[in-house]
Amino acid sequence: MTPANPSGAFEEIFRAHFDYVWRLSRRMVGEASADDVTQESFLIAKRRFDSFDGRAPRAWLHAIVRHVAWNHQRGHARRLHRVAQTDPPSPHMSADDAVQLEWAARHVEYFLDKLAVSQREAFVLGDIEGLTAQEIAAIQGVPIRTVYSRLRLARHAFDRYIGRLGARAGRRP
């Protein structure tokens, strides 16, 4: 399906999924390079928009971001730079809202880093970014049943993690 107004349709996708692309980029290349990867991804998306069939824009954008991030990550130095920039989680933060959010986000990221790659991707795409199981299956190239299985395992692990965290620190976001 080709959009009737390509420019307007792309603008709509750009506005609706900008945060999603940035978060994907951030998870794939780190915060330092997330802005660059986001911009490059949207530039490529715009150039390829005439070949986009109009279905599952998030899956389509995910493929582009993954490709851009992969190119971005090819340099070993960049990878080391990203690792060096990743701070360890610090659960004991002050209680104001911003810090509370940051504390929760770092715990989520800490959990994600411990998760198996396939489960992490399914969990991020499904539960954080809101993609459907079909879209995730298309992205991962696996049957929908496998996606459901990965989601179930990841959710179970996450629930256990935040349960332990709440019991230990007595806090929640």
Partner: protein, 259 residues
């Protein structure tokens, strides 16, 4: 174990904490606006189709132009020849054969140029002597119908201007041979193929000899006499280079040019 609502609280906190920095979306939007459109156009199939059709049309157009060009040229040539034939009936100008000198050597050389080329220098030229007249057959035939009708006017003008330069060169030959040589070189570079080569070659021999360059002058003299043995300049050129650098001594009885 926590359930889905608890999980969503945590994930929502993550989403809110991990938002793009303010201003980034606008910066990327500007970059997208700056991004040139032609690349996407080039990649699109429609653009390729349009390009292919345009190329085919252009090729057809070029073919048509190529086919029509010779016809236009022939028709133009025919009409010009017809005009020339009409002109011939009105003014059957003929050039006298130049196998034998018909003007005494004492006469002004440039008057001879004017007569043979039928181009009066003080008024608009009527019939130029075409380069093909160098052909002996053309000389004997004497017809001065333009053989290059397309460049007829241009040749008239060039011949008149070229002969003007030769006249100036001849005038300064005795007083300033260097200036005469410069004028001859100017003539050669500008009007060298306008039909007064015989006069140019003769004056060049005289100027070279007048400058004292005997060996080169003698070489050019030999070449001139071989090529234009029956020229009205032959006797004059024959006397050149008999002494070094003095055209008066080389040609003591040079007549004063009539104005």
């Amino acid at each position: 174990m926590s359930g889905a609502p608890e999980r969503e609280v945590w994930l929502d906190a993550y989403r809110r904490a991990r938002r793009p920095p303010p201003g980034l979306q606008e910066r990327v939007a500007q970059a997208l606006r700056r991004d040139a459109k032609p690349e996407s156009m080039i990649r699109s199939r429609s653009f390729l189709w349009v390009s292919a059709v345009a190329a085919v049309l252009l090729a057809c157009l070029l073919g048509l132009v190529w086919q029509r060009l010779p016809r236009a040229s022939v028709s133009r040539q025919r009409s010009t020849v017809q005009e020339a034939l009409d002109l011939r009936q009105e003014k059957p100008t003929r050039v006298e054969p130049t196998l034998e000198p018909t003007v005494p050597l004492e006469a002004g050389a440039m008057h001879d140029v004017e007569r043979r080329s039928s181009v009066p220098l003080d008024r608009e030229p009527i019939q130029p002597r075409a380069p093909q007249e160098r052909d002996p057959v053309a000389k004997v035939g004497g017809s001065v119908l333009p053989t290059d009708p397309v460049g007829e006017d241009r040749d008239h003008r060039n011949l008149a201007l070229g002969i003007g330069l030769l006249r100036q060169a001849e005038a300064s030959l005795e007083t300033d041979p260097e200036a005469a040589m410069r004028l001859l070189m100017m003539y050669e570079s500008t009007y060298g193929n306008t039909g007064a080569e015989e006069e140019y070659r003769a004056l060049r021999v005289l100027a070279t000899c007048a400058l004292g360059n005997l060996s080169a002058g003698q070489r050019e003299r030999r070449a001139f006499l071989d090529r234009f043995a029956t020229s009205v300049y032959a006797a004059r050129v024959q006397k050149a280079c008999t002494s070094a650098g003095d055209v008066r001594r080389a040609w003591p009885d040079a007549p004063a040019r009539k104005e």
